[in-house]
């Protein structure tokens, strides 16, 4: 072991655990090691709150035709409306207040991302557990399907599915679930396999515990940490993917404008210098995705048992 850092080798003194340390508390204190990650988590909380409270926060209901006037179309940031209030981020091609449109768009983007993520986790977890627990041919078959699907880029799978299914919020959620379940299935199977081979699971089986009990009480809890990590990152992916598909015009219909669709609508005005219609929704999208990813990164560091001392 000449390659080992001599300092680490020379330090057998174990870290003394503090008296009242619960797993949750340790998780929180580990997470807070990085100030950047704490900031990202706070930012994410604000974003989610804004999306949840959109109708109460947004200065304007961008889909109330009584409020929106086409005469206000393409106003630059800071312009005054006909009835005298300020468009802080300007207006879009239909005269909607861009800030309000972004807040409502955020709501749609986040709901699609979270909904598809939750369903994909449930599907993937079930299939992954089934594969790990059943073993044999069932496992081989499932994992072959997973492998094939993972070798194809998610964007391609979603694109084709939407070509088949057509537009709509339900359809894009279906497409995202199908494009992503395999990641979860693989994750769950991998950690379930590790657990399955542990002595305590074998012991539980020898004691005659039911399959359901072994799976839910012994195997599943150990898959939670990797699932959380993969889930965070994949949700960010799902949001980006939805935006991409909507931008390409195959995702959400114009009646449900997510951030991607707002950007797409703004794109046509960009070449004429009206940058804000595409840029600001993009910035909102960006901040959302980056903050989720940063939280995910830190979660991986904190929850990865291999990195834990």
């Amino acid at each position: 072991m000449t390659s080992l850092d001599p300092a680490s080798r020379a330090d057998p003194v174990p870290a003394v655990p503090k008296a009242a340390e619960t797993p949750l508390r340790r998780f929180v204190s580990d997470y807070c090691d990085s100030r950047l990650a704490v900031g990202a988590a706070l930012l994410l909380a604000v974003i989610v709150l804004v999306a949840l409270l959109a109708p109460w926060i947004a200065p304007q209901d961008p889909y109330d035709l009584a409020v929106v006037s086409i005469f206000d179309a393409r106003q630059p940031p800071g312009a005054q409306s006909m009835d005298g209030y300020t468009f802080w981020l300007g207006t879009d091609g239909a005269g909607r207040d861009l800030l309000s449109a972004i807040i409502y768009g955020l709501r749609i983007s986040l709901s699609v991302g979270v909904a598809s993520g939750v369903i994909a986790i449930i599907v993937g977890m079930t299939v992954g557990l089934l594969a790990a627990y059943a073993g044999g041919r069932t496992e081989n078959l499932i994992m072959r399907v997973v492998d094939i699907q993972l070798s194809l880029p998610a964007v391609l799978i979603a694109l084709i599915l939407l070509a088949i299914l057509g537009k709509g919020i339900d359809k894009i959620i279906i497409a995202l679930v199908i494009a992503q379940w395999a990641y979860y299935a693989r994750t769950v199977r991998a950690s379930a396999l590790v657990e399955r081979r542990r002595e305590y699971v074998e012991a539980a089986a020898c004691l005659g515990l039911s399959h359901a009990r072994i799976v839910f009480r012994h195997i599943l809890p150990n898959c939670v940490a990797p699932l959380i990590v993969v889930g965070t990152v994949q949700t960010a992916h799902a949001i980006a993917l939805e935006a991409t598909l909507s931008f390409l015009g195959v995702g959400l219909p114009q009646t449900e404008p997510s951030l991607g669709l707002l950007i797409s609508n703004g794109f046509e005005y960009m070449l004429s210098g009206k940058y804000w219609i595409a840029v600001f929704p993009g910035v909102a999208l960006l901040i959302t995705i980056v903050s989720i990813n940063m939280v995910g990164d830190q979660l991986r560091d904190v929850l990865n048992p291999r990195l834990q001392k």
Partner: protein, 325 residues
């Protein structure tokens, strides 16, 4: 080895057939493309004529049978919109897409490896931290958004580079290529960089991780104990080892480059097969969608085989394993 290749080919053929079946039936379940060809002044007889001309009046099983028998002969149907063979249209647009994808791959290697190497060798410095932050950003930013920003900055505000089309092309062996003319290169720059961004981040991460790991390996320390110079250790001993995972991953990612070119081509109006696909989806031009899919699955199969071969060239341990079996 040949048994292995044969098995792989058979597997791939099965995947292709499965995809074809799925897509064919999937595509036929939604929308009726006949309506695209109907004008308000047409009567019922005209509509039936159009339907018959497109072969859409027959039972779906028959349509599928015709499709499969034709597919085996390389005929994937006629585009409803263009009235030309779908496969021909795809093949026509493929060189543009491949050119874009290869340019992006090249950028990923040329930009990603040196940056990753640097970040791995001097991980604590500010430049390394900047590189890594940049690569996280490269992972997080959606491709289409970066593309839009590039157009805004380099085409609209600065006016340095054009934002649409391929520019002047040169014909080589019947292929139109952009990168051989200055104008073509200028047109290629933004879309290629846009497509490459994700892969640059990936290569930086892979190279950095590989470098950090390799620097603690005994063979690097032994090379130092031999009194080799640092350029020799980094350039030969280190690089040759980390190139193995980088090349493997990049090869496999080539397929995703082609898939993502759908986005880039749409933004930069690059006349490749991805743009054709989006147009076909919007216009319900089924044969093009199906042909695109068959083509892309075929490409994936080829890429996987090429990567396996490349891998065995780079890694002598694999080479022996083959001979031994």
């Amino acid at each position: 080895m040949s048994v292995f290749i044969l098995r792989r080919l058979l597997q791939s053929a099965l995947v292709m057939v499965a995809m074809a079946v799925l897509v064919f039936f999937g595509v036929h379940l939604v929308g009726d493309p006949v309506y695209m060809f109907i004008t308000p002044d047409m009567d019922q007889a005209d509509i039936e004529n159009v339907t018959r001309a497109l072969g859409l009046d027959r039972p779906i099983w028959e349509q599928f049978w015709i499709f499969m028998t034709n597919a085996v002969r390389g005929n994937l149907g006629q585009s409803f919109i263009f009235g030309e063979p779908a496969l021909g249209l795809i093949l026509q647009r493929m060189p543009a897409t491949l050119e874009l994808a290869f340019a992006a791959l090249l950028m990923a290697v040329v930009i990603g490896i040196p940056l990753g190497l640097y970040a791995g060798l001097y991980p604590d410095g500010i430049p390394a931290k900047t590189i890594m932050a940049g690569s996280i950003l490269g992972f997080s930013l959606p491709t289409f958004w970066v593309g839009i920003m590039m157009i805004m900055i380099f085409a609209v505000i600065l006016g340095w580079l054009p934002s649409t089309g391929r520019g002047d092309t040169v014909e080589v062996f019947g292929l139109h290529l952009s990168f051989l003319t200055l104008d073509g290169l200028r047109h290629l720059a933004l879309p290629a960089l846009n497509l490459a961004l994700l892969k640059i981040s990936l290569v930086i991460r892979l190279t950095r991780a590989g470098t950090r790991e390799a620097m603690f390996q005994d063979y690097i320390k032994f090379a130092r104990a031999k009194g080799l110079s640092r350029p020799r250790i980094v350039g030969v001993h280190l690089l040759k080892n980390i190139l193995i995972p980088v090349v493997t991953v990049l090869g496999l990612e080539f397929g995703s480059l082609i898939a993502f070119s759908v986005v880039t081509e749409t933004i930069f109006a690059w006349p490749g097969m991805g743009k054709l696909l989006i147009e076909a989806i919007q216009q319900l031009d089924r044969p093009i969608i199906v042909a695109y899919l068959v083509m892309i699955v075929f490409l994936f199969v080829v890429i996987n085989l090429v990567v396996d071969i490349l891998y065995s060239i780079l890694d002598p341990r694999v080479r022996l394993g083959d001979r031994g079996q």
